[in-house]
Symmetry: C2
Subunit: 218 residues, 2 copies
DNA sequence: GTCTATAAATAGATAGAC
DNA sequence: GTCTATCTATTTATAGAC
């Protein structure tokens, strides 16, 4: 997938995978999301992609390299989308809103994104190569830049960028990744747990983040 | 561990595990946190606990049952600690602060808690048995009760309990679980990423949550 | 690019002696 | 409670034909 679709700034609608490489990439993303790196099986990936197992090693050299490529694709996409914000002319509050929206959009375009990110954090980032780590750092830096811009314009109070980042990414990933768990909670009497909507979740996180930075009132 | 330490309301300092059962429980928690359920190996668990592998099946019947027991212990502890808040006489804002503190304390007492919870969410909650699911539901309901109490007293505005919950648990788990990843970000130029302190993180999340509920200003 | 066959290691789990 | 030995299935990965 990354070869076929490099950095792009518009909504990432990916076509049905054609080549065996693309089919393997898509099947692997699903398998890694569902079972984690250690739990994933190259046999299952190949079977799901309807491709011979040996093709995984032909196209990607190893299970680990395939997994690293999926990680790179995830953060490259977010980094590319978010980079445009730095140079944009809109005011800082709208940049915060756009940042939240960007994370949500990329997470939604890749159902494997939230679970894989959760698992990779739990793995201590063992599989993050230099390139991918740089992409993640760039994302946090963009957010830090927006906060600094708002502080300089006396619109925001100074808050550590990593705190702002955690306040956005934590709840957002939790929402996208927890669909199944929320269904179980609904069955156990947590009313409405299975009926959260993307729109209201994103709006809430935008409000809370701006409240933290501006001081609420509204 | 659950057998030896049932529900308790004070800081959970656990003694060095003595019995083979306790050593296996502790070693398994570490292994599942580091590698996930599918990636964990009963051989490694037994080796780390310096206990014969067959003892795992003697004490816990299966790898899955052992894992479920660890999950139960985690949420039983949080549920027990948080249950006291419902019946407490302090005002709603202090209850919110105590709720955040409770999650942080239990997460800190069990380094395996944040990674295992992230992984289990990614697994779709496949291993959550009825008892554990009930504990999690109870935790969310306690938070819902605190919010409702504040709304009735005209101190809080109505916010969906699951939104409040995600705003607390998302960032908090992210902080505890991301130590290694944050080290990597520090190396890549994200200043201070590896020097966040528990105290300031908890204080920030308390402020943000109360700001969301009360309307900030301060 | 695609396939079969297979190597070599490791997985979870159990039987049965002590 | 603890141990050794072992069964069976599955793991990642590669060699080599087409």
């Amino acid at each position: 997938m990354p070869r076929a679709h490099p950095a792009r700034s518009v909504a990432p609608r990916r076509p049905a995978p054609r080549s065996s490489r693309e089919r393997l990439f898509a099947a692997a993303a699903t398998e890694f999301a569902a079972r984690g790196f250690a739990g994933a099986s190259v046999d299952r990936i190949a079977r799901a992609a309807r491709v011979n197992k040996a093709m995984i090693y032909y196209h990607f050299t190893s299970k680990a390299a395939l997994y690293r490529e999926i990680l790179r694709d995830m953060f490259e996409a977010v980094s590319a989308r978010v980079a445009g914000l730095s140079r944009s002319a809109i005011d800082p509050a709208d940049k915060i809103r756009a940042f939240v929206e960007a994370i949500a959009t990329e997470a939604e375009a890749r159902p494997h994104f939230p679970p894989i990110w959760f698992r990779e954090i739990a793995d201590g980032g063992r599989h993050l190569d230099a390139q991918t780590t740089a992409h993640i750092a760039a994302i946090v830096k963009v957010l830090g830049g927006i906060v600094a811009e708002g502080v300089a314009a006396k619109r925001f109070r100074p808050v550590k960028p990593l705190f702002v980042h955690a306040g956005i990414v934590g709840p957002l990933l939790l929402y996208f990744a927890s669909t199944e768990v929320r269904k179980r909670l609904e069955e156990r009497g947590v009313a409405g747990a299975d009926r959260l909507e993307r729109r209201e979740v994103v709006a809430h996180i935008q409000r809370v983040t701006l409240g933290t930075l501006e001081g609420f009132t509204s």
